[in-house]
Amino acid sequence: MEVGLLGGGGDGLFHIIYFRLRGGGGGNNLEKVIYAKKLEKIILDEPTSGLDSTTAFRLVETLAVEKGKTVPSSQIVMDREAPDQRPPIPISKRTEWADVTPIPQDDGPNPVVAIAYTDEFRETMDYFRAVYLADERSPRALQLTTEAIHLNAGNYTVWQFRRLILDTLCVDLHEELDFVGLLARDNTKNYQIWHHRRWVAEKLGTNATSNELQFTEEIFSEDAKNYHAWSHRQWVLQALGGWEDELAYCDKLLQEDIFNNSAWNQRYFVVTKSPVLGGLEAMRDSEVAYAVKAILAKPENESPWRYLRGLYKDEVQSLVKDPRVASVCLDVLMNKRDYVHALNMVLDLLINGYQPSKTLENSIDALCLDSVLSDSGLAERVCSVLQVVDPIRANYWKWRKSGVTVEGPNGKELAG
């Protein structure tokens, strides 16, 4: 008796690949066949209709399968066929493909970086080549691309051809979204899958908005920094909308992990681009407060420092004039720990004309561990401290120091 977990990812025995509606019976008896990646087929028999794909997926994903076992908490009866150890029927043996001559790969007599394909892979791609070169945009070709994609989700040629077929056949793209969704769970870092998803969502338009946002959130629950997912989410917002809760979502993620730089980046994106907020100017004040709060909680966290600096992008004089900026630096310096980013910010302020208070100067001098030239400017002393306390960047701080000794753009002596 075999026990396994259904669902995507990990080492489960089965992977749900896609649904195929198999006709049958009255409206009550929808049978969904789930083709399992590892040779076994599970048939879900729904005595009552009404479960949509998504719900059914979720249900199946969380069930442990035992042969013949009934799951009482749902109305789904699961009946697993005897494990079929044989692979799927070879394409050459499928009658619907009898008229097609497969085209072998033109690797030449002495291929390099030659991959030891399985027979199944080789055959599938040989048939794909045939339909691709013949430009056959048929249902069977579509099915073939499905199989090819399962074998290698990175084949962009297959994906592109699939798009041509979907267009030609006017296929309902909601099913396509399900298909891509499943794949994306297993291959969260695959460019082709995400690009395809974007293409589908674009075609579906604003109806797809909440589903797309929801989908990326599911990805983030596993990996809150997935680059593709964030790009996708940004695209959705800009192309389809849904900005209303975005700032709150960023806040939620930052509450969970204040170090999540992707969430900070998203926050910047929302604050600058959201049509429901007022734009950077209007938001700056509250965002500065937000950043300052995060800094004070964890001064070693680089993200809010960069965010704060970013709020004043192209407005460096406003940065210099905002008392909260120098103030947060001072607060951190007074604590005498985790102050590298504070010093980095102070340096930025100083070279842009900030006139330091005596308190700030003293707090920096308190950190000077070696004998520091007392006649050099404060900016130079900041660099000197950094050379010592941030040694991995010693060369950089040395270079910065060499730059502060000359006249600034105002013609005034800097770092006085």
Binding site: D106, I115, F121, L151, W199, W230, S231, G310, E407
Partner: protein, 457 residues
């Protein structure tokens, strides 16, 4: 190690885990006698060559996921072998040229394998592979005219490039197109048009560059964006001080580079981020100008004097080299106009050549010795390189760890003719790998051969 009793966030926990593994390696290293240290630091040349050559010929079933990336496999392997100052035998070389020819599309460009659609990334990889192989047969196999047409078809309205027909647009696509066009001497104004606008829109508030406008600053894309901007002669449009500040902070306590703020160290960023730092070293004049700092060196634009190293301006250590080499004339033009150099047609193809001709006036901005420690002690395996301890080796990381190693070793030389000093090479001096062209990431000598070939023809 964390002394707090409280749990950290996910970022912190992940970071502490990696840190502890890496520090364990460094602690062990510090405790063994110097002779043993020297031995451990040794670049395992033979083992790497064995791993690489084997892969060039045959790969296991698990490589099916890279079936649409086979030119990349060629490049990662061939480039690594070349960096290690080795080469493949004639037969294998011819087989590579043949194979890549089969990946070339009749309408231009190279796909991930025979009969696959042409793709910008696999085109970049194929061309770089052929350049690495070198020789007439290899270089003449590239159909440049068709390739140019392919590039033009991939141009997007946004100014960026599409990776393939119907494919994604991002900064990687810009770099792969521009880099390949440049090295093949087919870069022109039409290809360049609006690319600068697109890349500029990808520089984020953090200072680094993202894949698409709005996304997060990322090492891979930052390299791509910066290199592309240099090649199209619009690098001064980027906020270079911000970029510099961002990239130097990507090197952490583990001594290696991370790809993004608050993410984990990874050996491949030794090249992507280290390479960015290396490029910036050569942009000294432009960076200083943007910082409003007068240049430490006198810019004597009118003279064409030879390099003169007798004067040193900085009293505190010698982090700058002064001189008035002829290349300063070109950069002076850039400074004076402060915009893309529109006074003469973008001599796109010589930008790459001229970029490395000049002298380097800056010490490396990153800690090149620390990075070499990470590469040799944490990424190196017995045959190949990996992301970090606990991960498996692969050809991609082998390529970029070795490329990063090259960047480190050559980061202190004043010009491309000077060999590195023993002090700049961690471990035995025999660890020295070949120098790369920092914009294209091909071995410099191979680049010279290609440049000559494609300028002539």
């Amino acid at each position: 190690m964390a002394t707090e009793m409280e749990r950290g966030t996910k970022t912190q926990e992940d970071q502490w885990m990696v840190q502890s593994q890496v520090f364990q390696i460094y602690d062990l290293f510090r405790r063994i006698p110097p002779n043993s240290q020297f031995a451990i630091l040794e670049l395992q040349r033979d083992k790497h060559i064995e791993y690489l050559t084997k892969g060039l010929k045959q790969l296991s079933r698990s490589f099916t996921v890279l079936d649409a990336n086979r030119p990349w496999l060629c490049y990662w392997i061939l480039h690594s072998i070349a960096l290690l100052r080795d080469s493949v035998d004639d037969k294998l070389e011819n087989d590579c040229i043949d194979f890549l020819s089969r990946c070339q599309d009749s309408k231009g460009g190279y796909g991930g394998g025979p009969d696959q659609m042409p793709h910008l990334a696999t085109t970049y990889a194929a061309v770089n592979s052929l350049i690495t192989l070198g020789g007439h047969r290899s270089l003449s196999s590239i159909n440049r005219r068709k390739l140019y047409e392919f590039f033009m078809r991939m141009k997007d309205r946004s100014g960026g490039f599409r990776m393939h027909e119907g494919g994604e647009v991002d900064v990687r696509a810009c770099y792969t197109a521009i880099s390949t066009a440049s090295v093949l001497n087919i870069l022109d104004d039409e290809l360049i048009q609006n690319v600068g606008d697109y890349i500029l829109s990808c520089q984020t508030y953090e200072g680094g560059i993202a894949g698409e406008p709005g996304s997060e600053a990322h090492g891979g894309y930052t390299f791509c964006g910066l290199a592309a901007m240099i090649l199209i002669n619009e690098v001064n449009r980027l906020d270079l001080p911000a970029l510099t500040n961002w990239v130097v902070f990507r090197q952490g306590v583990e001594c290696g580079f991370q790809g993004r703020t608050n993410k984990l160290v990874d050996g491949c960023y030794s090249f992507w981020q280290g390479g960015v730092a290396a490029l910036i070293q050569r942009l000294h004049l432009t960076v200083n100008e943007q910082m409003g700092q007068s240049n430490i060196l006198e810019c004597e634009c009118s003279t064409d004097s030879d390099y003169d190293s007798t004067n040193s301006v900085i009293s505190e250590g010698e982090q700058c080299y002064e001189g008035t080499p002829s290349h300063v004339n070109e950069t002076c033009q850039l400074q004076e106009e402060g915009q893309p150099n529109t006074s003469h047609p973008a001599d796109g193809n010589n930008v790459g050549y001229n970029f490395i001709k000049g002298h380097v006036y800056m010490r490396p901005l990153f800690d090149n010795i620390a990075l070499q420690h990470y590469i040799l002690l944490c990424s190196q395996e017995e045959g190949g390189f990996r992301d970090k301890p606990g991960k498996t080796r692969d050809y991609y990381h082998t390529c970029y760890c070795l490329s990063g190693l090259s960047v480190c070793q050559y980061s202190c030389t004043k010009d491309v003719e000077s060999p590195p000093l023993p002090g700049d090479v961690l471990g035995p001096y025999s660890n020295l790998v070949e120098r790369v062209h920092p914009l294209y990431n091909v071995v410099l000598d191979r680049y010279y051969e290609a440049h000559e070939f494609f300028t002539r023809s």
